[in-house]
Amino acid sequence: MRAFKNLREFLQLLDAEKQLLRISEEVSLEPDLAAAGRAITQLSETSPAIHFNRIKGYNNAQVVLNVHGSWTNQAFMLGMEKDAPLREQFFEFVRRYEQFPGEMERQNSAPWQEVVVDKNVNLFDLMPLFRFNRGDGGFYIDKACIVSCDPDDWNNEDVETVGIYRLQVKGKNRLGIQLVPVHDIAIHLDHAEQQGKDLPIAIAVSNEPIISVAASMSVLYGQSKYKMAAVLQGKPYPVVRTGNGLDVPWGSEYVLEGRILARQREPEGPFGEFPGQYSGGHSYPVVEIDRVSHCKDPIYEALYLGVPWTEMDYMCAVNTCAPMYVQLKKDIPEIVAVSAIFTLGFIVIVSTKRRYGGFAKAVGLRVMTTPHGLGYAKIVIVVDETIDPFDMKQVMWAVSTKVNPAGDVTILPNLCIDLLDPASEPPGITHRMIIDATTPVWPDRRGSFGPELDSPQQTDEWRKKLSAMLKELQK
């Protein structure tokens, strides 16, 4: 387990481990940066982060992309071996998640306080903002941690929330914010707007990697993301209070302080979103930035978002699986593992023991009623406890040989789903499906399942021996 104090320290580790590509040629903001962000995730599941330090139109700007964009970088973030299998990363993440809550550690000052701009703020001067996809309505900040608190419960640090919401930079200090009712910040804005008051927010840009993972997790209202980050990194999470009274990470490169303007909505979008298509236009709230603080020679971190898989699919993988697993396991201890790594869990794969016939279908139904499952889990595949749900070769073998569509496919009509599911009709309403790919057990006597093949004696010993020899050979 390892805690990184800031993005720079994590980049140093990636550099030392040959997981950071430094691009020293001069690049254009468009289309070079987005193209590189797309291309790096097409190469492999072990792709490095990429860092640019010569950006056309800027004297000194730096951009880093794909910091979370591989299982290798995720393993380093968790302080694990670089080749730690996804299944091991999942169980380690679950182990830490179950320690919640950790502690916040309050500091009086931070490196991001070094440079302050509180007059004539121009975000385009301060950050090398660029277009991600050609149909985007403008220039977006898409990987920032946005902090807000409930104006009706201002001194309660547990309802202070940290989330990642896309921000369209519409003016020098004016942003659009995609804020939908399921986000905790929507509760805060609702209370501020009932009072007719602006909602203070802080936007922390370019952070050490664990807070981005915590910020993009589905947790219960009142579960502090900083206290979640603390258990995930195994150390109290350091924060500093901003001038507008919010806690932000000690290690951020930039901190923007501003307000969501009360009772205003304005056209925003479209934006290329996580299901691999554009979001369409909406009228969303508007933010005005009053003050920007940043480190000297700041690094700007962004995330290319495209048709899966891109960086977001890695960043929002294990952190989506873990809460769902813990919630399910509480009611159904037979559950062995949960994979919700595809498109934020529109498909969920669960491996489970079965107490009796029909049990797997009941597990599938329960997945759909977890907090995250209510908006995702459109298709649930249930497999035997011997199948690793993170290994698609095993899952497809189970679906290929265990499923008889006559009785193993259950369709539930007209349930809820995230509005961004493009197949939903009307948006937000969809049928859902459970695929029971488990071996039937009594009293379910369907099929003619005989004994399954197992591995020859001593296969485990040989695997360890051959793996060590292979590593030696490849040194």
Partner: protein
């Protein structure tokens, strides 16, 4: 290219409005200018590929009409003011 404040003759690639303003110029003088449409809030950089800067090359599927903006869903709903 010099530092630009001039929008004469510019048309929004997305909605074809002529109400265009200079949003900002590059910190290194003369490299690029960002323009913004006052009607639909689309913004583009002068150095982007033509698909994003030229109204005749802008992809049809992303084009907008000014009247479409009023049809955008307003999210989240604005609550009633509390009575003090």
């Amino acid at each position: 290219m010099s530092r630009s404040e001039d929008t004469k003759g510019l048309v929004c690639p997305r909605c074809r409005s002529e109400a265009i303003e200079v949003l900002t110029n590059s910190p290194v003088k003369g490299v690029w200018t960002i323009y913004s449409c006052k009607t639909c809030i689309y913004a583009w950089r002068s150095t982007e590929p033509e698909e994003n800067t030229n109204p005749d090359k802008y992809p049809e599927s992303f084009q907008l009409k000014a009247e479409d903006l009023a049809k955008f869903p307003r999210i989240p709903t604005i609550p009633a003011l509390r009575r003090s």
